[in-house]
Symmetry: C2
Subunit: 525 residues, 2 copies
Amino acid sequence: MQLTGELLIGQHAIKGTRDPVQAINPATGYKLEPVYNGGSSNEVEQACALAWQAFDQYRETSLEERAVFLETVADEIEAIGDALVERAVAETGLPEGRIQGERGRTCGQLRTFARVVRDGEWLDVRVDQAMPDRQPMPRTDLRQRHIGLGPVVVFGASNFPLAFSVAGGDTASALAAGCPVIVKAHGAHPGTSELVGRAIQKAVSRCNLPEGVFSLLYGSGRDVGTALVSDKRVKAAGFTGSRSGGMALWKVAQSRDEPIPFYAEMSSINPVFPLPEALKARGREMGKAFVGSLNMGAGQFCTNPGLVIAIKGEALETFKQAATEALADANAQTMLTPGISDAYREGVEHLSQRSGVTELGRGPTGEGAYTCQAGLYAASAQTFLADTELQDEVFGATSLIIECVDSDELAAVAEHLEGQLTATLQMDDADMDSARALVPILERKAGRILVNGWPTGVEVSDAMVHGGPFPATSDGRTTSVGTAAIKRFLRPVCYQNLPDELRPEALRESNPYQLKRLVDGKRED
Amino acid sequence: MQLTGELLIGQHAIKGTRDPVQAINPATGYKLEPVYNGGSSNEVEQACALAWQAFDQYRETSLEERAVFLETVADEIEAIGDALVERAVAETGLPEGRIQGERGRTCGQLRTFARVVRDGEWLDVRVDQAMPDRQPMPRTDLRQRHIGLGPVVVFGASNFPLAFSVAGGDTASALAAGCPVIVKAHGAHPGTSELVGRAIQKAVSRCNLPEGVFSLLYGSGRDVGTALVSDKRVKAAGFTGSRSGGMALWKVAQSRDEPIPFYAEMSSINPVFPLPEALKARGREMGKAFVGSLNMGAGQFCTNPGLVIAIKGEALETFKQAATEALADANAQTMLTPGISDAYREGVEHLSQRSGVTELGRGPTGEGAYTCQAGLYAASAQTFLADTELQDEVFGATSLIIECVDSDELAAVAEHLEGQLTATLQMDDADMDSARALVPILERKAGRILVNGWPTGVEVSDAMVHGGPFPATSDGRTTSVGTAAIKRFLRPVCYQNLPDELRPEALRESNPYQLKRLVDGKRED
């Protein structure tokens, strides 16, 4: 397919008129054609108007229709074929295998949400039957279901050009919830975005849905992003990116006449706790495996392990030595964009100059202009507790080891942590008591707790939580990965005493979706 | 029980040191003993510290322990006996029967949440079993449950001294979710608050729970309320009251270093749509019944019908005439406080002076100083569409009838509405098409849609939604009445690859709570 550089507004493709966005191949530094001119307030207006028009019809599609639509989006993305992989590789510098895997995950995610839509549990149907003879007051029939919040704006993320972008997690869960979606493409991969956007456009048309179910805009977060989040027809937004960018848009969402949910997944340093017995038993292997997780994808994951917290001693020295050695061989991979590369260098520089922070080692520098030189630093718990800036995320393959004098200090460091996406325990059976003391703290700090794994790698499944207390996200009550993500775009509505024909399908007496409803406090079998 | 005027901090009772709060009997204008001195930053600090200390233990109480605690609170409230009714009547001017009913509802609500806690569905347990042989990557065991957000601040409401106050809906759902609660008592009924607070204190002690599970503070919303919502150990808050008060505290919650969920139920005028055929068939009865709902409890309900929207014509004239006649007999009841009475008078005065608004009638003035003179006004749809101030809530028994020229204009008025707690259709079978056209609009506007009833009267049940889009509430994703309210105080946590003995009870292999879990995408039978 020939890329045209156009914005996709419903079923239309329109050339933008504002400042151009152009992808750069971070492996070569060359610009990639075509140029994507940003959208103006005109295109924002059109996309919002179409989304609003589409909402009432789209949210009342049957479960089957909506599921088929999600599956059709997946089919259409696969139908793009190699061109999608090639373009994404060129725009991101990520290896082909990674992009292929991400495509599989993206399409798998859409099909998983199709299953969730068909199951219908997300409707959370509750029926309180009328009790006309109840004393002192009769009860009228009450029924509850969930409906979509309204049009949703999704911000594409730089680090997952497919799985967290145009047809990524937020888009899949919002569409599953019955919400039209307007995507603000990330400027780092506009071509990949256009390809996927056109695939969704085709699926909308093939499924005979109202065109406003999907639009795709390019432009700066500050202009197009702010305009979208400010529009009164937009009722929620999903964002994955930096803390400064997320909080700026979050403030826009909260400053509207009608504040809206703004789900920003922003900043996490994902502490890893190698517990004493595990450290003794396998400090060397652990140090090596840790660097493998740290340097994966040049460390450009939300769940990258940016912090190691352990008790000082010989075993920790072994871990540090093994990690430092592994670091010397850690392949310097190309980072996603020149901007991310610059920010990484500045972040490492800032970290290395904090008082009390010592450098344990650096990885190879690599050959490209935008490669990521891995880094490992250490500081005492006292230093860490005294300097909140040591919790700032350095997006890339750099980590900081916090050395504690004893388990009390380790617990104090855990309590001092900001909210996280993940927290990881490396433990042996003999560490059970130490682990038991930490888990209650970590439950308050993180959305996901791991044992004897590494936080990178996020399963798309029912039990996954990719979320967590602020500042990991702006709203720890939900997840952005996994099937529970559908809940973030829903709200409950109660119907009191409606004639059966006026009730929505899901609430009819005949229970046409064969849902296991909560009827008079009992779950149907 | 002798009232002492003390703040309840955990198991302690402490005399406050700040500005005094003293109840006024609105029927007589006399002050009621004792004086309640407000809490200082010291008491706020103590209550927050105790709540924080209690959280980890309280949230891990077994389902049975927690359910028994909620039932014990209900028992202890009932054990207060007549003293509670007498004091609440004196402090609010509400009739004895109403207070008795509210006590029944409050205790019933606590027992209903005990049932919800035991059922355990709120845990939303999900298990994705390990697939060690999966290609290309193995899957590790993933399990999800929900835990409480942390200590919750609850603001007592003036209009429900029991059901929306110290042991009201927010307290019951927060305690059910495993969150310690700190209540900021409403200044209008401090004695009722102390009685109920001491009942909860006793229940905490009888159940051997950590004392910080509950505290009760007096003082101004501006001082004590702001201090509580600002405290970093507080993780959510529930509020029922005015839009200005709710939004002021909401802003505090959003301006913290760590923003927190702030559930404010604020402002709703609860439109009623008498549809044409119903109006023709029973305009007279409807007009009378409408005034009954309007004047109930002096109109001091969040769901009071403050707006009637209908198509002009003879049938509407009949409705108006019947309503105006009924109004002439509408008993002028005592309002809750001098402040509410003043605000009502000002609100009516403001409404009556808006351009295009005509007075249809006023009720009797009544004899007390703070009685509510009911009022009925009318305006054209054009007037309403042009003047957003006509959507301002007048808290009390006053309503505005909007006259539309046709069904298109009626739909335009519906679209123009702000978010509401409820929207009501009065309809006959022949109105089905008109109703079908309105329901999609009303679903976007309101948390509850009623047919052929009146919005006053909120059932505590599974299907109830007492919520709705802004400004009815600050967060339309939840409800403050009914069992689904437990969800507002929960967040999901995922446990990856934990040894079984390290898992929380609800996630153990043996499934000790016999929950119907979602296992590998299938709901257990």
